[in-house]
Symmetry: C2
Subunit: 198 residues, 2 copies
């Protein structure tokens, strides 16, 4: 994710009314009327804020009859926050990291986060480290092969108790996709690219 995108999201969040809109949407979708009323703003002002939120990718819109309903895009919001922290604390995506450094980095992360029994000590909070760990696990599944949710849970449990979180991360970072209850590992080429700190 590039700097201006992240900066723009923060600019959009840097307004009390927009923040309130997001808070209200966390309770479920709402249309322009409701928002205008509750925030004591005119309809055009709500449109104004809504389009900023939409352009930044923080909300979605759905038309029903002649109401437009807004709803949160929670995964994306979390992604941006994550990327934001990566940006600040890892000096902005470090795309200049060499392959060698990269491999050394991976090795040290794996060494630190996996115990000698092969189990995951904890899920890294830092974005890049988390990706290393997820990648390591998902690599042990066969690409293309369909797995049931139960199988995936069992697979993850051999590394960590909290299979639900990790399963969600697999999907979120596109290491796998889900289609009516069946999980499939994506091929390496589709994985989140290292260098772009997604």
């Amino acid at each position: 994710m590039q700097l201006d995108k992240i900066v723009n999201v923060h600019k959009v969040l840097g307004d009390p009314n927009r923040m309130r809109i997001l808070m209200m949407l966390s309770g479920g979708e709402m249309n322009g009327q409701m928002l205008a009323q509750r925030l004591h703003l005119s309809q055009p002002t709500v449109t104004f804020h809504a389009s900023k939120l939409r352009e930044a990718g923080l909300v979605r819109e759905r038309r029903d009859k002649n109401h437009v309903y807004f709803s949160l895009q929670p995964e994306y919001i979390k992604e941006v926050f994550d990327a934001s922290l990566s940006f600040i604390f890892n000096k902005g995506g470090e795309s200049s990291m060499s392959v060698a450094t990269n491999e050394t980095f991976k090795a040290s992360v794996l060494k630190n986060f996996f115990g000698k029994d092969g189990r995951l000590r904890s899920i890294p909070a830092q974005y890049k480290k988390k990706l290393v760990v997820l990648e390591f696990m998902v690599e042990q599944l066969s690409p293309g092969q369909p797995y049931s949710e139960k199988e995936i849970n069992e697979f993850i449990k051999q590394f960590h108790e909290d299979y639900a979180t990790i399963r969600r991360e697999f999907i979120m970072h596109e290491y796998m996709y889900r289609e009516n209850g069946i999980y499939v590992r994506n091929p390496r080429e589709m994985w989140t690219k290292w260098e772009e700190v997604h």
Copy 2:
């Protein structure tokens, strides 16, 4: 933490030059001269941005000779991000939660995050849930009694492998304080208040 504080932090982050300053500071402290040069800005402009960052609590300043050095305040930055997500996804601090609901909430969190063997399945990512879990663990230490770092590590390990992270959280949320290597649990009255989503 109140809304306007959070909003202000995002406003401050919503400028590319300020974001760049933070990125540069993650590599270590820098003075105004260096920043001005690297960002191709005049000194007054750097002062302008720096004071915004300082007022928002994102950086600290230290004077040495006649240079002023800026450095990141990483814990606080993470706190705000955390509070921000809490705000959006839990409708802004829910101070109206009744004692009963509160207790029910705590019970369900504990049930979900601790296994029947008494071990912590994972560290909750959601702010409020994390506090519940931390509180539960720290309650089992005697307030006022000094513990060595080793003792604290052992204590935490009975719940979770990743004692370093949890020990840091204890300090960060002021459940404990550390004084030259000795850890002491704070009394309940000093703990992060529930209702304010800190």
